[in-house]
Symmetry: C2
Subunit: 232 residues, 2 copies
Amino acid sequence: MALTAVSGDEPAALSKSERAYRWIRERIESGRYVPGYRLVLGQIARELDVSVVPVREAIRRLEAEGLVTFERNVGAQVAMIEVTEYVHTMQSLAIIEGAATSLTAHLMTPERIAAARDINDAMAASLDDFNPHRFTELNKEFHAVLYEGCPNPHILDLVHKGWNRMRALRDSTFSFVPGRARDSVTEHENILTLIESEAALLDIELAARNHRLATLEAFTAYQQAHGPAHTS
Amino acid sequence: MALTAVSGDEPAALSKSERAYRWIRERIESGRYVPGYRLVLGQIARELDVSVVPVREAIRRLEAEGLVTFERNVGAQVAMIEVTEYVHTMQSLAIIEGAATSLTAHLMTPERIAAARDINDAMAASLDDFNPHRFTELNKEFHAVLYEGCPNPHILDLVHKGWNRMRALRDSTFSFVPGRARDSVTEHENILTLIESEAALLDIELAARNHRLATLEAFTAYQQAHGPAHTS
DNA sequence: CGCGTCAAGATCGTATATCATTTGGAATAC
DNA sequence: GTATTCCAAATGATATACGATCTTGACGCG
């Protein structure tokens, strides 16, 4: 009942604040809003055909999640990541993702392991004709297969947030450190073998953790050698 | 003018939205707003002598942080924690806090270790004439000494957020599981010994992790035996 | 006596309006 | 030519107003 169709459209079961949130977030995650991009309230409000109030709320949520930074009376911009923060985030991601992987290990079916191995094979195949962006995508998929079944949703959430922070860096470490990709594929296979053989969970956890820490070390070593990249 | 000390002054270097955020958060963390307490926008706005808009933004931020839950057209309330979520949060806290502790271990000065030991001695002394609330406070202080110097601010932040979630449960596990407190003190001393003797970082990490996991297991075992407590 | 319907109050959702702050550039003085 | 001051446009911050939705309890019917 109550066809109050005066204003034209119903709430669509989604508040405008929520719509704004998803809209902005999607644009950040898809890369259309690059790190440092300035989010102007009025402009976004016009594009979404809403007032600024819901947009403000959306940005506040994104701020609390760390996807955007905010300065009073100045505005919001897509969060940037500096080298030091990258290192810290990678380190914590190593710990959390390692734990998530080991917690998921005994739930891995042969099918899922096969799927992971397929992805890793694709990564190996792409080593010639190397495309960092593509490789990073596959890398993410590979690890997602290993931890997405994690029975602890809280840890899973932390892993996702960690990956989100990483996206602020254009194409992850593989863009900078050429040799790292090949080692990475080898370590992937090693992790899969551990899971298949039902190795001790701690061994799996440490393998996954050290895999990521090795990537981080490759990055920092490269930084040392070549001077800081233009990450700001 | 200035009927109330808070009205027409200058911005005081703090936006109203920010003030509302801190005000609500302080009330939640101090326990004045217990889990489940309903946060009514208009009421809070009147108490702070501001309009509802800044209050809304504050609550959005708190929502994104997980301190409050929100339902459309119904309102916000201080986040509650159910048993299953408690287990998941404790598990992730075990992992993160263990990592934080080991990362901080080699930065621990003899003074800080002594401070931690003093706190643990106080915990031991309070075992007779047991007060769960007091014991929980000391427990938090003890661990804080062990990880607050963590060089990775990101991990430190995660530890804090984990503890925040825990507060939603009245007085932690020590209220339920009488025997656990004594074991806890022993394990604390064990951790301190490991740090003092500069044991392998992994051993320290696992000791800290298992210490918390043991508390969790004591809780779940108690749950099994006595039926679910009234945690809602 | 129980259940459905409806109306009133409470509360949330959003738009509009106004004030405050920042920022960039033009005008002016040196 | 450079530096400084000041003004105006852009943008953010907040208040107020009104419509939408939910909750609650009264009322009538079976």
